[in-house]
């Protein structure tokens, strides 16, 4: 027999996808919706956070729970941490902010009883949606002794002041200044570790200052490295490890197994990785996750891979992870850093990913989300056909537009015509060759158009033949590619930038579900 079971609180009809999509400012008053959201929080409490807002504005972190002996909670418990020196005072009404999977709600409820460390509150009548899916922001806690906790502000007249960082976000920095004043609108330099950039003060309150980053595109990848060191402490740039180590990681994770023998090309692959990293690249970013012993256990890549009109299409690709059940959270980072990187960009880009529907975890975080956000995410079942294209002798370059993207010392060529989009090179940018690809953004595909765009790319590069993936929406037998084989990826998702916060919530929820399943098993 089991105790502490509270799965039954969740109505199957009230799953994640229905729970967290309200807009900021919405007030939820329907009793069933209020109950469903509270129960949803209680169900996933270990993935959420609750804070009690005291009348003087100070905030106490609390645990929101209930007596799990009940079929449904008759009251809620607000518990202080065991080592807390604070008390609840004489609160009669509790204001609590709860956050779960990037959704935040404020509730007010009557205090019905109390002891030293616990307030017993009634179930609230309403919930107010706060800051739903804002940009991620990560606190630097004093006790962490983080090397970035102390930084410097250099004013326009060259004066340098020490500041204490409270939190770092993709768009803003929050810090405390004790011995100097900054006025709203003032621009200065922030020196954060080895990184220096301009920032503009947007808000000051009692020494607490919020600055907006003024980061150029060319500095962005360096900024993101600093940001990642706070938000994803288990993440390192690929260059942190030797090419041999990362190659071994991809091999041991089984990633190469899907794409033939990679060993024969190891020197070429490592050489490509090295040349992509020269001088850092804004357009191609690779991160590796590490375990407690600092050994690499997963890797994933993000590349500005295609262009259509003024819109850049960034590819989530080349993700591998060693099977370590205890590192589920770390695996989640391989998905989330890529979305956060794009969220911080100034450009209004799109993201795309090919994946296999065989993985239930990936189906949950991508496909299930896409089905619930069809206005923002395009999901297509696809047939990826890989083969060699030989440029016909009679081929004449079409009027397609061709763009170049440089990664370190390497150049990639992209092309588009109407809705057909393609990209080619550098070889081993993706070790499976997936980014040498032609696909459509419409609902129709055409072998002729694909061949034309791919030939265009090869001609631009001055090559007579090359290996391509053609991404079809319908099964095709006449791809025109020599030695054509169908790849394993059978899903294609295109995300608008505005859907990436939803994607982060979906990844967080997917990881929580995986952990819960592991606990149950």
């Amino acid at each position: 027999m089991t105790s502490n079971r509270h799965l039954q609180l969740i109505n199957p009809e009230e799953q994640f996808q229905e729970q967290v999509w309200e807009q900021s400012g919405d007030l939820i008053v329907d009793p069933n919706s209020v109950k469903a959201k509270i129960y949803f929080f209680l169900h996933w409490a270990s993935s959420g956070a609750a804070k009690l807002v005291l009348p003087n504005g100070s905030i106490l972190p609390v645990t929101l729970s209930y007596d799990t002996d009940e079929a449904e909670p008759s009251c809620l418990w607000l518990e202080l941490p065991k080592n807390s020196s604070s008390g609840f005072g004489s609160l009669q009404v509790a204001t609590v902010v709860i956050s779960i999977f990037k959704a935040t709600y404020r509730l007010r409820a009557n205090v019905v009883d109390r002891d030293q460390f616990c307030l017993f509150i009634s179930l609230p009548d309403s919930l107010e949606v706060l800051g739903a899916r804002n940009f991620p922001r990560h606190e630097i806690k004093a006790e962490r002794n983080h090397p970035l906790k102390r930084a410097n502000w250099v004013s326009k007249n060259g004066q340098r002041f020490e500041i204490t960082i409270e939190s770092i976000g993709l768009k803003t920095l929050n810090f405390m200044s004790v011995d100097f004043q900054i006025s709203e609108g003032e621009v200065g330099e922030i020196k954060l570790g080895s990184f220096t950039t301009e920032a503009k003060c947007v808000k000051t309150t009692n020494g607490n200052i919020i600055c907006e980053w003024l980061i150029s595109d060319s500095e962005y990848h360096k900024f993101f490295e600093i940001y990642a060191s706070v938000s994803f402490p288990k993440l390192r740039t690929r260059t942190f490890y030797s090419g041999d180590d990362v190659f071994a990681l991809y091999k041991n994770s089984g990633y190469f197994g899907q794409f033939g023998k990679a060993d024969a090309f190891k020197p070429e692959i490592i050489s490509t990785w090295n040349s992509l990293s020269v001088g850092h690249s804004y357009e191609n970013v690779d991160y590796v996750t590490q375990d407690q012993e600092l050994k690499p256990i997963g890797a994933s890549s993000l590349t500005k891979a295609f262009v259509h009109g003024k819109t850049n299409y960034w590819a989530f690709h080349q993700l591998c992870a060693l099977r370590r059940e205890e590192e589920i959270d770390t695996t989640g980072l391989l998905y989330s850093w890529r979305a956060e990187y794009l969220l911080g960009l100034k450009e209004d880009c799109m993201a795309l990913v090919w994946y296999r529907s065989r993985s239930r975890f990936i189906e949950k975080i991508y496909s299930k989300l896409a089905r619930n956000r069809p206005d923002k995410i395009r999901l297509s079942p696809v047939h990826l056909v890989k083969g060699t294209l030989k440029v016909s002798e009679n081929f004449k370059k079409s009027k397609s537009r061709v763009a170049e993207i440089s990664f370190g010392e390497q150049i990639r060529h992209c092309t588009y015509s109407n809705s057909v989009v393609g990209g080619y090179g550098p070889k081993w940018l993706n070790t499976s060759g997936l980014l040498n690809c032609v696909f459509t953004l419409s609902d129709e595909d055409s072998s002729t158009l694909y061949t034309q765009e791919a030939s265009n790319l090869l001609s631009t590069k001055g090559e007579g033949e090359g290996e391509f993936y053609f991404c079809y929406l319908n099964e095709k037998t006449d791809s025109g590619l020599d030695g054509a084989v169908v790849g394993e990826s059978d899903r294609f998702c295109v995300f608008s930038k505005t859907s990436l916060m939803d994607l982060l919530a979906s990844i967080e929820h997917g990881i929580a579900v995986a952990k819960r399943k592991k606990e149950i098993a």
């Binding site: 027999m1 105790s3 079971r5 009809e13 002996d69 009940e70 009883d113 616990c118």
Partner: protein, 247 residues
């Protein structure tokens, strides 16, 4: 210790759908637990499958594969769940088996203590975090406890009953201390069964009202959930007791 639920797709090949179901059911039946199945067809219905189902209550539905594509799939699974839970209760403790156990325990169907236990269970269990399988165990526990005392061999052909009630009847043997009713180290189902047993013994000795008053003394939102929920049903329990006395 779980029921089996098997979905078999008919493909007109050997082994047959029925054989597959029977083979997959064996590990469950070996532990005394039933298994249930749904047959899925891709084409037209097979008369022989219907005939076979008529003689095998374990197969609860025979559906077309297209039903899995329907938006009503959750309703379909819910209807299967209802059938599985009610049939499991019947199979684990069929009414006729229950009557035999009552006879062995030298009780009657109208035994006031058993009746009170059953009625109190019906009122209190839905308020608490108790699964349907635990609810079956709680209802059976007093009877199984009596039979185990008098003729334990009667229960040997029914391992599932013994398994699901073992923890509860164990606490009955140990004379569970009612002050521990809020102790979360003990499963809520066990504590609930012991509380209901305590109340039915109090009812039998005419002390239900004072026992309830003692349990509900100093009631507050901080009290254990089981006591708070008992408070919300205490009047109904007293009513049941009064009506039984009047009858």
């Amino acid at each position: 210790m779980r029921c089996g639920f098997i979905i078999v797709v008919e493909d007109s090949q050997q082994p047959s759908t029925q054989q597959i179901f029977q083979n997959l059911s064996k590990p469950y039946s070996a532990t005394g637990w039933p298994s249930f199945g749904v047959f899925v067809r891709n084409g037209v219905e097979s008369i022989s499958t219907y005939k076979w189902m008529a003689g095998n209550s374990g197969v609860i539905d025979y559906v077309h594969a297209e039903e899995f594509e329907s938006s009503k799939i959750s309703d379909l699974f819910y209807s299967w769940w209802l059938k599985v839970s009610s049939k499991t209760e019947d199979l684990i403790c069929h009414p006729s088996l229950k009557e035999s156990l009552i006879a062995v325990a030298s009780k009657s169907n109208a035994d006031p203590q058993l009746l009170f236990f059953d009625q109190a269970s019906s009122i209190l269990l839905p308020k608490l975090n108790i699964s349907w399988k635990e609810a079956i165990a709680i209802r059976l526990a007093p009877l199984v406890f009596e039979v185990m005392e008098s003729s334990p061999e009667i229960l040997s052909p029914h391992p599932a009953i013994v398994k699901i009630t073992r923890e509860i009847t164990g606490c009955f043997h140990e004379n569970f201390d009612i002050r521990g009713v809020g102790n979360k180290d003990i499963a809520i189902a066990v504590r609930t069964a012991c509380l209901i047993r305590y109340l039915s013994l109090a009812n039998a000795s005419g002390n239900l009202e004072s026992s309830l008053a003692s349990l509900l003394d100093n009631l507050s939102p901080r009290s254990p959930a089981i006591i708070r929920q008992l408070s919300s049903v205490s009047d109904r329990l007293l009513n049941i007791s009064e009506r039984a006395k009047a009858a």
